[in-house]
Subunit: 333 residues, 3 copies
């Protein structure tokens, strides 16, 4: 990472926490935020998982963000640096990164509305929002306070984004949902014009090249605090509840209703017209084929194996229900 | 959805159908198209699936598009509104949405060739085609009558799009196919220049951020009436037959040949150099590893389960062929 | 493919190989490179796989690139044309395609830095690099010699691309990685600013609409000669070793470390924080859930079946570990 330069006491002053260790460290300049093992004597690091205890003990970091008790253990095991003690070191680290980006690093040249963006006169852009190069904002769309469209984002007609959202490059919000009626006379597909919108709450982040389709009649709804990774497909009339996070390459089919505080692993597929309760966690690459009413963790993918073994099992799998019959027969004897 | 205002009799005049119910309804202004359950007394709705019969009976819609017999049942069960009777209500609804978008809603400011698009002087653009903001059309490419590239579409060199196509934002047509020869001396990959094109028929719709690669020597071909959802990858030299529809996140590897009137579910993967017959339906997340000669429905994904149960089965699955041996042994005794 | 016009002897002069067959063919004009079966009497083709031996024998191609011994067999079986004999015909063909594109076909109008690109004054662009229409290059980014960004590519702040790279349309390099700390007080996600970069080596090719996220603290690293197909997601802090190739729609989660000379099939998912050794080959649609230390081929997807049979097996699969218990019981008797 690029180097900055911030006195340790400035971090404490801005972000809080209890200072532990040699007080002369307070005036030290911190140049980088680094993982424990790679941190040098001008770096700050953090400790948040027990498996890194030995890395903490031997770290050269000038300061480590940690729970007080963990610092005591690390110090007794040899760690010589200072500590910012806090109840949730990983959360403190998260807040530090953002503060660091703004205060310690060279700010990128900032243009609020890039002149290359194509913005409809009827769009409502908050005076504190940022629109990056080569974005397209269509008629009647709106973008809330402090929200930021990075480069090459399309925000479709009448679609709404709330406050404090980040939309990464290449995102398409408000393309038509995939809706067709089949003409039985020749099997051709007749388009159903997609007349709904996309409405996105506050504090939503949307990853690069992700697509969120507009609703057919009603809207597609992304609630506050939702985090979407890259290359995700959200079908028309989907609703995603507050603070739910979807990893990369997830596909959510039309009219699926995903609850709040859920997580969906990378490459998972959620079929349409089903409901997922709050606090449901779907593993990567899992196909959700029916509604899930109960919080918990759900999984379904074929376990990886060396190819030869996989082939033998795959062949056998295609006769699995026959094997069950044979077991039944044996049991009857 | 946004409101419009259209007299019911105008809908009938334009789209046909038999009017049933109180004739004074004909002069009523219809403001929205809505689902049965949500429709109010100024809305039009449609009935196309038996499971919604009770919703029909209790609907407040001013008018419901339905089969005559279904309207009679609904009326006898309490429905008080009018009906447009037609043999295929869902198809009528589809036609209504498009008519509604053009006639009842505010038209978006329409620019035929947006000045921000970068278009080669040697491209052939129909005088009735529309090119949205920030599109790129390369040398020798062509775009047919009434076809519409939404924003930020790339149409590559010499690629062709027929008439009445819709290409959504972020689509890339004619990037190089993924073709390399391995140099055995060092394991490096030597590029095979991709010299073919992409040719796309009429009435094709292509979803946001979907990619269709140009052929290596021959062309990649998308036939008339094909519908591609968002974030689909079509490899070089693929051919997709008429009126076939692919859902989001599908990947089709090079030289696959998919028939006409097929459907492929979201997240499915079609391997390369294989043939899929007409009228084949592939379930979501299924991996097609060999040619399919017979129409029908084909499926292959691991069923979702609660994580604990999945883990037990996944472990056992890796020894499945050994279980079969043990059954055989037992049978021999 | 579009036609060119090159005398056969010019191909030999430029690309080498041993000429076999009637020497008058040397002056013949070659118009196209074509597959064996489709090649006509003014076309050149190649033979690289035994299964096409009968196509070689009956091919009308003016010249076929082949091993000497294979040409002898084909000639004895009836092939009348000439041959360029070489040890690795497919590699020769690859080199021919690139030479052909430059020398035999109409060159696209070439603009080194397209005026519609938005390029930061602090970006370092090699004087031999090419930047296509509507690209965005942010502060401090760099692009090496002869590298080519096609249209609508975003190269993020401080990210680096080496020499001789090709980056296809719609690619996003350097969007934020997907990093959040959960605030346990309300379950909301607090952003971890992504302070690392993406560094890309030489001879890398990146397919359309693919995304490579910047690192959280350290960099995301793509080594020399890596080939990425379309619509691939590379998470933050991933490292991909030399000459590894990933097919379309692959997702690689954060901090995965993939070795050199690997291949990953389309739609596969590689989970985060794991290591894959050199020379590992992952089949399409396989989920890599743990480190792989040993070279070889690894697979894991549910085999496709007709839907009825799949359903029976899927139901049984959910009780597989119970079946194992029943077998154990039977064995005990």
């Amino acid at each position: 990472m690029p180097s900055g330069k911030v006195a340790l006491q400035d971090i404490l002053k801005q972000l809080g926490g209890e200072f532990l260790g040699p007080s002369k460290s307070l005036e030290k300049d911190i140049l980088r935020i680094m993982p424990l093992a790679a941190a040098g004597s001008s770096d700050i690091s953090f400790f948040s998982a027990a498996k890194y205890a030995s890395q903490f003990a031997s770290s050269n970091a000038a300061c480590v963000i940690a729970k007080r008790a963990d610092w005591v253990l690390a110090r007794d095991a040899g760690y010589l640096g200072a500590c910012i003690a806090t109840e949730d070191p990983y959360l403190y680290f998260a807040n530090l990164t953002t503060w660091w980006q703004i205060n310690a690093l060279r700010s990128p040249a900032h243009v609020r509305i890039h002149p290359s963006a194509v913005i409809s006169a009827s769009a409502k852009i908050s005076p504190t929002a940022t629109v990056g190069p080569l974005c397209v904002i269509e008629d009647g769309a709106s973008l809330g306070d402090r929200s930021h469209l990075k480069s090459r984002v399309t925000l479709g007609q009448d679609c709404q984004i709330g406050a404090d959202c980040i939309v990464h490059s290449g995102v398409v919000i408000g393309a038509d949902g995939f809706g067709f009626a089949q003409d039985k006379s020749d099997g051709s597909w007749v388009k159903i014009a997609q007349l709904g919108r996309v409405t996105i709450g506050n504090q939503v982040e949307i990853g690069a090249n992700t697509c969120i389709d507009r609703g057919a009649l009603d809207d597609t709804v992304i609630e506050d605090g939702v985090k979407l990774d890259n290359l995700i497909q959200i079908g028309h009339n989907v609703r995603i509840g507050k603070h739910t996070a979807l990893a990369g390459c997830v596909g959510v089919a039309g009219s699926a209703n995903i609850g709040a505080h859920c997580t969906v692993g990378g490459g998972a597929v959620v079929l349409g017209h089903l409901e997922i309760a709050d606090n449901v966690h779907i593993s990567a690459a899992t196909v959700v084929t029916k509604s899930i009413k109960k919080p918990g963790m759900y999984t379904g993918f074929f376990p990886i194996d060396d190819n030869d073994n996989w082939e033998k099992n795959a062949v056998t799998l295609k006769q699995l229900h026959l094997l069950r019959e044979r077991i039944k027969q044996l049991e009857r004897k």
